[in-house]
């Protein structure tokens, strides 16, 4: 009788649960998520250092050239371009911290949620995972745009 009742139930009344297998897989994903976040922070730190040191070096060379009579105090546009590039690098470095924060938050909340069976923490962890994917999607789209611009500039510019 019970079996008959179960089979009579439409599939849509069932509720999806987070099974033990899913929990174990999610826990594994948190470890790798943290590793990716650490890479992100390292890359951001390198980029920050690089952009600041580039800006300082360019400013120093520019000052030297402006004071040097041989160059006649010429203000070359390349210095401005280099400074803008250093600025862009600085902004990219700051932006690269964001997905790392999302992944760390995802990992901590998910572990907490699974260990204490807390639905709120689990929901929040999924929100941060979604944010990380949204960020990655935007980043990928921007990369494609840059590749297209680069190919157009190098291949198209050389040909036409």
């Amino acid at each position: 009788m019970s079996n008959n009742l179960d089979s009579d139930l439409p599939k849509t009344t069932k509720e999806l649960i987070v099974s033990q297998t899913a929990k174990s897989r999610l826990k594994t994903s948190t470890v790798w998520g943290v590793i990716i976040a650490v890479y992100g922070f390292l890359m951001a730190a390198f980029l920050l250092y690089n952009s600041i040191s580039t800006y300082i070096s360019i400013s120093r060379v520019e000052r030297e050239m402006a004071n040097n009579p041989i160059f006649g105090g010429a203000n070359l546009g390349m210095f401005t371009a280099a400074k803008i590039m250093a600025g862009v690098m600085f902004v990219i470095a700051l932006v690269m911290i964001i997905p790392g924060v999302f992944l760390i938050r995802y990992a901590t909340l998910l572990r907490k949620g699974i260990n204490s069976n807390d639905q709120y923490d689990f929901d929040d962890s999924m929100k941060f995972l979604r944010n990380a994917f949204i960020f990655a999607g935007c980043y990928c789209l921007l990369t494609i745009v840059f590749i297209v611009v680069y190919v157009y500039g190098v291949v198209g510019g050389g040909r036409f």
């Binding site: 999806l16 649960i17 998520g33 890479y39 639905q119 929901d123 999607g137 990928c140 990369t143």
Partner: protein, 156 residues
Amino acid sequence: METLDKNITSDSNKGLTVNGSITSYVQTASKWTIIIAVCLFMIAVALIIYSVKSISDLSNFADVMGQNPVIFVGKLIAFVQLIFGAALILPGIFLIRFTTSSKSAFKTLDQGDFDFAIKNMRNTLVFFAIYLLIFLITIGSVVYYVYDLRNSVSTI
């Protein structure tokens, strides 16, 4: 008060469920993962074409100029780029599987599909962590090799 406490305890013992919020978050994530997958495929194809073209051009150049270490390093870099480009197809497949199985899980409430979606999401994260590690080691090795080569050329 006691009744409320009892309810809290029973709720926390109930186990985690896939509620409306999670469904919404995963559905939004799955839309973006499709975009990421398409971008990854495009980047992979672009890298493969570029690497094959570079290797072919360098081979032609070597036929004219003769073999030298610079051409060898160029070919090595192009080959490494080819492998890294081809590897990017794998997370694209994982992400597409994540999207399709999560959509199917929410539509049919199939537990197996949901577990499979989670598995593919985990695989994507595992892949990228290992990919980045190998990428950093490779970049470091190539830079070291080129630097070493430059020193040996300047000594000669």
